[in-house]
Assembly symmetry: C2
Homo-oligomer: 133 residues x 2
């Protein structure tokens, strides 16, 4: 368990105040937030933050492999600070995204494809929305 600061440095990212805050946010809130959610939630603490910086930082994080982009919600890009392989569940009703253990999957041994990411996304209705009727 290294600090977020150490974690960024180890991945070649200079830990500015903004970058640290965004990384912390991703690690503390495993809600797969959109860029806008990250922006709005950090704004009270960092009033000078701009949405451009959130986008810039996410791009950097993804390049350096400390975050993943999840294409599960066709409206917004979502980001995940957990880079270990896991599956996602998207609730069509409330729009929440939950983590699930990754089912056993064998990568396709197809004619020379190179696979570097595997995404497993389930869609449906979450327990809360079901009980709510």
């Amino acid at each position: 368990m290294v600090s977020a600061q150490q974690y960024l440095i180890e991945h070649g990212i200079k830990p500015s105040v903004h970058r640290l805050a965004i990384m912390q946010y991703l690690l503390n809130n495993r809600t797969h937030p959109t860029a806008d959610e990250v922006y709005l939630n950090l704004l009270p603490d960092i009033p000078t933050l701009s949405k451009t910086t959130v986008y810039n930082t996410m791009k950097l994080f993804i390049e350096q492999r400390v975050a993943l982009q999840i294409d599960i919600d066709d409206r917004n890009a979502r980001f995940d600070g957990v880079v270990e392989a896991h599956a996602h569940f998207y609730c069509r009703v409330c729009g929440c995204v939950k983590d699930l253990p990754l089912p056993q999957i064998q990568e396709p041994e197809m004619s020379g494809l190179t696979v570097d990411e595997t995404h497993v996304n389930f869609k449906g209705t979450c327990a809360d929305c079901k009980s709510r009727g």
Copy 2:
């Protein structure tokens, strides 16, 4: 093997000329096209087609479950006329999307989730792009 027209009717879709053409296109070209690709490819045959109609029709198809939307390319929505379960491979280099057999996957038996769709997306480099260097 029913005709596209029969297929639409069976799914409660009134088969207008435009809808038929779009369905045919999806079934004949398993390239997971974007709305724009469908539009541009049908335009020579149906000069009166508008992009709005492509969007409207895709929405209808998805509601009636004769097409699926694939969230594999974060830039555009892609559509698939093959509704049987299968996995997808996205090439980051050329942007192509290929079908793959669906690996054995057990749905998560999690606290009351209802899963109605399972998406398995691989990302990487396709054989053509690899050989091209």
